[in-house]
């Protein structure tokens, strides 16, 4: 258990020390949101309608952009083999990287949430539920992106392949999260929307379990 947290902590420290990767991703997504707002705008009601979609698509992009970060440094520095050589099972590598990826996505997601609230007039009154959706949605994205990133770690064309593999699989996450966020924005009672959160929860549970089971079988070496 402990090494899961240490692995995630180490990656997070490295990432925050490096800064460039995370910052450029956030800026890219900010520009993307700006352009989307211009495309949908400027009427506030149109923007408010497009807000959940823009936010979750931006987060999906963040997921595929940052997926390479989880294993990129390991391959560059040749430390992936050291990780693989550690005794015991290999599931913990997946969980550690998943935790790292989740932390990154939640960080980026919070920034994007602020931007969407500003540019798209997304109401933030029910911040608690929004955070819950962000956490579950980010976990869904991270579960799959971490798995594929590990699988394709040493491949040259992985930047193109990752989104191609990632996006069709996360369709249920996008649908559920967008509908939930939209419902919140329209002021529907949360009890009516809980089914969407349950769908996210089921998706997360299934994919985290399956990916953790398959990961040791698929990781090379």
């Amino acid at each position: 258990m402990q090494r899961i947290f240490w692995l995630a902590w180490r990656d997070l420290t490295l990432e925050l020390r490096g800064r460039t990767g995370l910052l450029s991703a956030v800026f890219f997504l900010a520009v993307m949101l700006l352009i989307l707002a211009m495309a949908f705008g400027p009427a506030p009601q149109d923007l408010r309608k497009a807000a959940p979609g823009a936010f979750w698509v931006a987060l999906a992009f963040a997921g595929s952009l940052l997926a390479g970060r989880a294993f990129g440094l390991e391959v560059e520095d040749g430390t992936l083999d050291d990780l693989l050589l550690t005794p015991g099972g290999r599931e913990w590598i997946y969980f550690g990287k998943l935790l790292f990826q989740l932390a990154l996505l939640v960080l980026v997601g919070l920034a994007l949430l602020g931007l969407t609230a500003g540019l798209f007039y997304l109401p933030l009154q029910q911040a608690g539920w929004l955070l819950a959706a962000l956490l579950l949605g980010a976990l869904g994205y991270a579960a799959i992106s971490t798995f594929y990133a590990g699988m394709l770690a040493r491949l040259r064309g992985r930047e193109v392949l990752l989104p191609l593999l990632l996006f069709p699989l996360v369709v249920p996450v996008v649908l559920a999260a967008v509908r939930f966020t939209q419902g919140l924005a329209e002021g529907l009672p949360v009890a009516e929307l809980l089914d969407w959160l349950r769908l996210l929860l089921v998706f997360d549970a299934i994919y985290v379990t399956v990916c953790a089971m398959l990961f040791p079988l698929i990781l090379e070496g």
């Binding site: 699988m151 394709l152 064309g157 191609l164 069709p168 649908l175 559920a176 769908l199 398959l214």
Partner: protein, 230 residues
């Protein structure tokens, strides 16, 4: 469907020929039976496209199960021929999936008035199609055979699990915000024996064709692998 280990060199065996031949024969017979089946009460002659659509859609989902089964088998047993059969199942399945989507669209235009509708079955099939295109791209991108097999198995397994989840999510997604209502129940054909029998003949023929093509593709893949080794 399975390439036995007694056939490692990829000999084109008589069983494959027999299955393919029966499949082709059945498809021809099925085509004539479909063309002579009576027109549907509501849809008229347009409904005949179902004789093509239903078997291809059925094959598309068979391919998904086949790919899942052989991918799991590969990861557990690590024998190259499981990977080859999984790849063949996806490759041939992709063609049938494209046919199913295409025939579905051709049917939808005169019946619903649109080529595309965000109907759960349609959307799920489109998502699955995208996943299997990704599967083929991944196979093309990786040169090391063992890594390729492992990565492809991962994609196939995650993709097959996705089918029920995306089906449910699309169903709910539509039900909450229904903008246009196209009653799908009118799309059901009346199951009359005059329509059912040609349908079953077509189903059987396409199943045979599918199995035969997967076997053939597997044999070609085995020959390619043997050549690479040599």
């Amino acid at each position: 469907m399975q390439l036995t280990r007694s056939n490692p060199k990829g000999r084109l065996d008589s069983l494959t020929w027999a299955i393919l031949g029966l499949g082709v024969l059945g498809a021809v017979v099925g085509f004539f039976m479909a063309m002579s089946s009576p027109p549907d009460q509501n849809q008229g002659f347009v409904a005949r496209i179902f004789h093509m659509h239903v078997p291809t859609a059925w094959m598309a989902y068979m391919a998904s199960f086949g790919a899942l089964f052989y991918s799991v088998a590969y990861l557990v047993r690590r024998q190259a021929h499981f990977d080859r059969v999984a790849a063949a199942a996806v490759e041939v399945g992709l063609i049938f999936m494209a046919l199913a989507l295409l025939t579905g669209m051709l049917w939808a235009r005169p019946t619903w008035g649109v080529y595309w509708d965000w109907e759960p079955r349609l959307t799920t099939t489109a998502i699955l199609f995208a996943i299997y295109v990704g599967y083929m791209v991944v196979r093309g991108a990786i040169e090391d055979p063992e890594l390729r097999a492992k990565a492809a198995a991962g994609v196939a397994i995650l993709g097959a699990i996705n089918v029920p989840i995306s089906y449910m999510s699309v169903k709910w997604w539509r039900s909450l915000h229904q903008t246009q209502s196209i009653d799908l129940t009118t799309g059901k054909i009346m199951v009359d024996s005059a329509i059912l029998i040609p349908m079953l003949v077509n189903l059987a023929a396409f199943t045979l064709l599918y199995i035969g093509m997967v076997r053939l593709r597997g044999i070609i893949a085995a020959r390619e692998a043997a050549q690479e080794e040599a």
